[in-house]
């Protein structure tokens, strides 16, 4: 841009700049939206840039910016559609008459048009557009995240971050396993095991319901030092590759999955992977096999 800087405007962080637009347009998936929102909480430059983007969009949304089709055009089109319906030859398109170079048939003007129109107007284009319109949800993947990876880990990290951000760590706060376990009864169609691991250095904080992968799941919350562990539990042992146990990481969070007694467990934490592994072993040892 050749424009000179006016007021000193703080630029947003380079790695967030595009994401701010994704957030503004509602095109980020839940976990990225949360991540950017979390960033906005702590970064003045980005928060200011985002506020400015919103304000300027408001400017562009004021009444008077959209145009209304002229009545004369409306009437001409209505007549043309009626004529076409009656089988009469429609009047030639005004553009062809007005813009075609002399001596050339008007319908051949412009290779751009013929190529693109065939694509758009043709059955394949119609299908592609229809398909695109049917894809209601679209997530913009940030760099570094491979497309095609199951979105479940992202969703789990979202659940974990959400529980921390919204200060909604637990619905039932009780360090006693015998207080937490009955709370789930009647709220879930399965009974998640709740075990006491205080002597192993993992204190039970409580439990809550969460919503993962289109179903209500149990989330147990444990804590080691300042690190929170969310343990998501739901029935079923379906897993990619049929592995009984695997691990991954997302955005600095460790995720660890295992299956036991017909239930799937996902532990999510910013705890280091080694300690999260300890947690899994301790939990699995005490939960009913």
């Amino acid at each position: 841009m050749t424009t000179a800087p006016h007021a000193p405007r703080q630029e947003p962080c380079p790695d967030q700049a595009l994401l701010l637009h994704g957030l503004l347009d509602g095109e980020l998936d839940a976990s990225n939206a949360l991540r950017v929102e979390a960033h906005l909480e702590g970064c003045c430059a980005c928060a200011e840039a985002y506020a400015r983007l919103r304000a300027e969009r408001q400017q562009r949304r004021q009444p008077g910016l959209r145009h209304r089709a002229p009545d004369a055009l409306r009437e001409r089109l209505a007549a043309a559609i009626a004529a076409e319906a009656a089988g009469a030859p429609a009047a030639p398109a005004p553009l062809a008459a007005r813009t075609a170079p002399p001596g050339r048939p008007p319908r051949e003007g412009g290779s751009v048009r013929s190529g693109v129109l065939r694509r758009i107007g043709g059955a394949r284009g119609g299908l592609a557009l229809a398909l695109a319109a049917c894809l209601a949800v679209f997530a913009v993947l940030p760099r570094g995240l491979e497309p095609g990876e199951p979105p479940l880990p992202d969703e789990l990290v979202s659940g974990h971050v959400r529980s921390l951000l919204a200060a909604h760590l637990t619905d039932v706060t009780n360090s006693d396993q015998h207080g937490v376990k009955p709370w789930f009864a009647g709220r879930l169609d399965f009974a998640p095991p709740v075990v006491d691991l205080a002597d192993r250095g993992f204190s039970l904080v409580g439990g809550r319901l969460d919503y993962i992968n289109g179903r209500v799941v149990a989330a147990l919350v444990y804590r080691r030092r300042d690190h929170v562990i969310n343990l998501f539990i739901w029935p079923g042992t379906a897993a990619p590759g049929g592995l009984r146990r695997d691990r991954t990481s997302r955005e600095g969070y460790s995720l660890l999955r295992w299956v036991q007694a017909g239930l799937t467990f996902w532990a999510v934490s910013d705890l280091n992977p080694t300690e999260l592994s300890e947690f899994e072993q301790d939990f699995a040892a005490r939960a009913p096999a």
Partner: protein, 192 residues
């Protein structure tokens, strides 16, 4: 045939204002926009049998865009000023209208009429950026729909939108700026 026409009237014609708005921002000319929309609607009518459901507005806007490109290509072939490159890429920002007009009565009028000022700022954006911004904010299309219509990857849609907003923001800030028009670095030519 009458059935098809009735279905067309129900499905496509409600989006006439959207088509006209898009054409106005693309062509930046009232009469040409009218012709472009007229042509586009007739084309849509003739290929309506290929329409397979989905968002009729996005479908119509794609046709409007093609008619605009036809018009722009023909105009530049006829010796007029090129409106847009065939690939839709004009990467240099157009001149800043406020540099030239800041001291004219029109500019003063624009400053009083905010909607007109915003409209002018949008119309000043280079074509691919203007197009992305209008499709997103006036027509409320998703990134994916815009990518489909303009034939570029979604990442390009995203960066064009970001660029369009940055350019708009810079012009808007300058318009609101408290400094005297024409002052400041890079504006010396306004005094010549």
């Amino acid at each position: 045939m009458a059935d098809a026409a009735a279905r067309f009237n129900d499905t496509v014609m409600p989006h006439l204002d959207a088509a006209y708005t898009f054409a106005r921002y693309l062509a930046r000319d009232r009469d040409c926009a009218e012709d472009i929309v007229h042509d586009a609607v007739l084309r849509a009518l003739r290929s309506f049998e290929d329409y397979r459901g989905g968002d009729a507005r996005a479908w119509l806007l794609a046709i409007v865009r093609n008619c605009f490109l036809t018009w722009a290509a023909a105009r530049s072939k006829a010796g007029g000023a090129p409106a847009v490159r065939a690939d839709g890429g004009t990467d240099e920002p157009a001149g800043d209208p406020w540099d030239r007009e800041a001291v004219t009565p029109e500019a003063a009028l624009l400053r009083r009429d905010e909607a007109a000022a915003v409209r002018t700022l949008i119309e000043t954006l280079p074509e691919p950026f203007r197009e992305a911004l209008v499709l997103r904010e006036m027509e409320d299309l998703s990134y994916r729909q815009i990518a489909e219509i303009t034939g570029v990857p979604i990442g390009t849609v995203m960066s064009r939108l970001a660029r369009a907003r940055t350019m708009f923001g810079a012009s808007w800030q300058r318009l609101l700026g408290t400094d005297a028009p024409g002052s400041g670095p890079g504006r010396e030519h306004a005094f010549r």
